[in-house]
């Protein structure tokens, strides 16, 4: 049982961590781009992003299940009921959150920073880095919220992961299982582990948030 618990905990961290990382790599640049530029269709993108905040994990899971199922278009990849599928599902859920929050962090960061960077000769890339630097408190919050969402999420990973012991069981699906079996106490204990992971992650990110890192 103990090695099982360790396994489940590590898989939770791995899946949600990887999903948050992937989502951040994709969403932070996009969010900066959307936040910094004015272009037609920007409002549409904002609308979609915000709407997707309310994307129910179960539905995300269903969509992904249909895609990854052996009778679905991506069935040949054989990803269903693997951690990879779970990572994909959580990435899907975290991306809009990180895009949206990065967008608002960047667009409320005073335009003056962008202009100063441009005037001092920064190219687009460096300008973006500078704006990210100035908006970093907001962006890091975005990543934290994204990780929280990934870690707490259960509907999608249950569907595409299958909650298979030793393979795809994570803390949240284990909590569901324990609750179903009436082991409320054990369920709560797993919940406490989950919150502890969140807290450690938060603590690390906060240290990062407080010190400067790029320019």
């Amino acid at each position: 049982m103990e090695s099982d618990l360790l396994n489940v905990t590590l898989l939770s961290i791995f899946v949600s961590g990887t999903a948050t990382l992937l989502a951040s790599l994709l969403a932070i640049p996009l969010g900066c781009f959307f936040g910094m530029r004015k272009f037609r269709g920007k409002e549409v993108i904002r609308t979609i992003t915000y709407t997707l905040y309310g994307f129910p994990p179960v539905v995300a899971g269903l969509v992904l299940y249909i895609l990854l199922s052996n009778s679905g278009p991506l069935g040949s990849l054989q990803l269903l009921f693997t951690p990879t599928a779970m990572i994909l599902a959580q990435t899907l859920l975290v991306v809009p959150i990180v895009i949206g929050l990065t967008m608002s962090a960047v667009s409320t960061t005073s335009k003056d920073y962008t202009e100063t960077a441009i005037i001092l000769g920064a190219d687009s890339w460096r300008t973006a880095r500078t704006v990210i630097h100035e908006a970093r408190v907001g962006i890091i919050s975005a990543v934290m919220i994204g990780f929280g969402r990934a870690l707490a999420e259960v509907g999608a990973v249950m569907l595409v992961g299958g909650n298979i012991q030793w393979h795809t069981r994570v803390l949240t699906t284990a909590i569901v299982l324990e609750t179903r079996e009436g082991n409320f106490g054990y369920g709560l204990a797993l919940g406490a582990i989950l919150l502890t992971i969140g807290m450690i992650f938060f603590y690390l990110m906060k240290r990062y948030q407080d010190k400067g890192m790029l320019t």
């Binding site: 009778s71 009921f81 299958g162 299982l177 179903r180 079996e181």
Partner: protein
């Protein structure tokens, strides 16, 4: 883990009751070692399990909804369906027993008394094996089941759309009657404020079946292992193991395979 060839992975789609009762944890190691396999258990609703089979995402099904299982095989998705075991449904309710069903021999009579007294009743309401059995009982007692569920203002009949454990908890909180399989009952009994009131009626038998998924439906299906599983679970040795499995001192499942030797 020893550094031998990777065991073959087999996906078993089953209902939550087999997993939650602990039966699978008890019997599966034997299969894994005999066939050098790694059975991956996906415990979901019966409907979802059958759908996983249809989509070619599971190699073998182990569920308890006979009519739907037979359809599944008839439509060509499954090779065949063998009975594996059964357990009993029981009607449980508050010790105060407002409908006075305690000791009633026939389940349909008990339902009639519940209906007539307007006592609270919790239904799984999720088209699961248990729910299907419940619907049949209402019909056999002479009621129009759809009529019952479509009363939106009904405060006695509660259709939950939840798993067995959750339904039991709800019934306990609401001091309502419900129908439950013995495996789940033995597992959760101690935390509940409910007692068994009706048991033993033959219509309350809960039949589990095994279906290897038809490999021609989809190339990814491991038909051979599915067949192995069906053979193994219906073999005399495994049947004996099922009979031996107890939960808090009670035998939970009674093996009764119909496989022709």
């Amino acid at each position: 883990i020893a550094n031998k060839d990777k065991p073959v992975s087999v996906i078993l789609a089953t209902t939550t009751s087999t997993q939650d009762s602990g039966l699978l944890d008890y019997i599966l190691p034997d299969f894994n070692s005999k066939y050098d396999a790694d059975v991956k258990v996906i415990a979901v609703g019966t409907g979802q399990a059958l759908e996983l089979g249809r989509n070619g995402d599971a190699d073998v099904l182990f569920v308890h909804s006979p009519a739907k299982e037979i359809d599944f095989v008839d439509q060509g998705y499954g090779l065949y369906r063998w009975k594996v075991m059964y357990n009993q449904f029981v009607i449980v309710g508050p010790a105060s027993d407002p409908a006075g069903i305690n000791g009633t021999a026939l389940a349909k009579d008990a339902l009639g008394m519940i209906y007539n007294t307007g006592s609270k009743f919790c239904s799984r309401g999720d088209q699961s094996g248990t729910h299907t059995a419940e619907q049949k009982l209402w019909t056999s007692a002479g009621y129009n089941y759809t009529g019952i569920t479509m009363q939106s203002n009904s405060s006695w009949y509660l259709s939950l759309g939840q798993g067995m454990g959750d339904t039991l908890l709800t019934a306990s909180e609401k001091q309502a009657y419900t129908i439950v399989d013995e495996a789940t009952w033995f597992n959760l009994e101690s935390g509940l404020d409910l007692v068994i009131l009706v048991k033993g009626d033959a219509v309350l038998f809960n039949q589990y079946g095994v279906i290897p998924v038809n490999g021609t439906m989809h190339p990814a299906i491991n038909e051979e292992m599915g067949v192995n599983f069906a053979n193994w679970v219906t073999s005399p040795e495994t049947q004996a193991m099922i009979a031996n499995y107890t939960l808090k001192g009670n035998q939970v499942f009674t093996p009764n395979t119909d496989r022709k030797p």
